[in-house]
Symmetry: C2
Subunit: 99 residues, 2 copies
């Protein structure tokens, strides 16, 4: 089980459109069999700075996610909204349990 | 609902002790009524670099967490293990649902 933390800085005029497109991606992604968590977050000190917190059960699940219609639709929709290239951190999950 | 992302860089000789102390904190914290998620993560490119990903239902839940015996025990145990002061990001949760 591993996590991917994606940091996304959006141009301010696209904030609402980015949220709409990304909620569509989250709602579909969280139902993929290999995905445990697919959270959308916004920094409290910068309303144009978002994070995705994604937990995958195994490496193949991330590859499968990147071939889904909802991921491809999201990637195309948000590409012009980015203020800078998004960054990725890969993390091993040492504890994850729903409260 | 909001999240706190804590970045913790540990002195290399304390990595195992830090994991043990933090798993104790996670296992107890996730059962607090105001906490939805309390994940422990380790950067794949730096085995001494950890994150805590904590989701609270409301602000009071974070205050209550900081008064629990397991939080106070954790804070005291890990204080000498830090390579540098830990950093905190506060994030609004726009989507969180278990897959």
């Amino acid at each position: 089980m591993f996590a991917v933390l994606v940091q996304i800085h959006v141009k301010s005029e696209f904030v609402d459109a980015f949220i709409e497109a990304t909620l569509d991606n989250c709602r579909n992604s969280v139902h993929e069999p290999g995905i445990a968590t697919f959270d959308l977050l916004r920094a409290q000190d910068d309303p144009a700075c978002f994070s995705l917190y994604e937990i995958y059960h195994m490496p193949e699940a991330q590859l499968a996610h990147r071939e889904t219609a909802h991921y491809l639709r999201w990637r195309e929709a948000v590409e012009p909204m980015m203020a800078e290239p998004r960054t990725f951190s890969k993390l091993d999950v040492l504890f994850h349990e729903e409260g």
